[in-house]
Amino acid sequence: MTISPDDDFAAAEYALGTLDPSERATLAARRLREPELDEAIRSWEARLAPLAEAAPEIEPPRDLWPAIEARIRGASPDAPGNGTIVELERSIRRWRAMAIAASVLAGVLAIGFVAREATRQSAPREYVAILQKDAASPAFAVTVNLDKQELTVRPVAAQAPPGKSYELWIIDAKLGAPRSLGVIGDTPRGASLSAYDPAVVAGATYAVTVEPPGGSPDGKPSGTPVFVGKLIPVSP
């Protein structure tokens, strides 16, 4: 092993889980570029993993299986061991770790949503949008991953005016009026996009408006968007 003792401690604490959020995110990003560090983390995980045997079982909610089954049906029927898939998974892993790392720098809002059945296998699965005020000042980065069924909003250089909230909207002709995706800065776990067709999710315009604290009172944007952008596919 060629990593420093400090890095090995960091790897150990990563595996144990005691790193604080920024340390954890930093290490998650580093391990993607540093195979020795990655290996050290895996070794520590392997050392500690037998402890899980002793953890007593707890019954999960009964409705969980149908949700999982729907997820794998939507995302999977493809050849196993396919090189492109492996590459794509690597890029997803890298993207996710970077998103986690960025979340620490900027604070992040993740809206988990259940996208409908995935679109065609060949269609791009990851999308990104930069919601800009003008060309020189990116403000929010929106990342959508249809496979992971996740939408992440990352404020790059934006702070809501005092006493106001930023709210994210999805806008598409097929949807009629803009639909709220939640207030940025809250944890709107209840926000579900299950009603949206992945094709709409991929093709829609995303916009941020300034709203009263907690978001628009009537479910409609209170003013014109301050940041707007469209998703573009991220090539694997």
Binding site: F9, A12, E13, L16, G17, T18, L19, D20, P21, S22, R24, A28, W44, E45, A46, R47, L48, A49, P50, L51, A52, E53, A54, A55, P56, E57, I58, E59, P60, P61, L64, W65, A67, I68, E69, R71, I72, R73, A75, S76, P77, D78, A79, P80, G81, E89, I100, S103, V104, G107, V108, A110, G112, K148, G185, D186, T187, R189
Partner: protein, 194 residues
Amino acid sequence: MTIRGGAPGGRAPTGAGDDLSNLLSRIATRDASAFAALYKQTNAKLYGVVARILTRGDAAADALQEVYVRIWEKAGEFDPLKGSPLAWMATIARNRALDEVRRVRPVSLEDQPEGFEPAAEEIDPLAARERSEGLSALVDCLKALDEEKRAIVLLAYYRGSSREALAKRFGRPVPTIKTWLHRSLAQLRDCLAS
């Protein structure tokens, strides 16, 4: 569902992990019935891992869903030479739960509602009656730690306790906890290697 010939070959399953190993190789070929069987056998175990770290029920359920999707995607990467199937799955589960609980967010998941504690009992692997070879070796090494230091490692593992939470619980400054963790982990590493 298509069953293709790409199942990882050459694996000679051994020991108690037999069934799960076989299921994982079938899952790697996109065998949905194997996945259903694996879920049935392991969901309470993995929920036990996740729900002690993410004590908010909805967060734990969301995390478990992600864990199984990941197992479905990654089954082909399972290597029986590097550990048991359950250890592999539990590592995925813990990592997912830890990523969630250690994410910077406006409302901390650690601010759990009062009185919600899915499993308040402390887990003592030293008292486990049935132990794999791996757990036996680890338990022997854990026994060599002071009681307090052992408790800290176990709380971090099973509860996902942060250094701050451990400092509060044991009435010690955070740097002390960090030093203890480093010493304990180094001791475990050396003990396991011997």
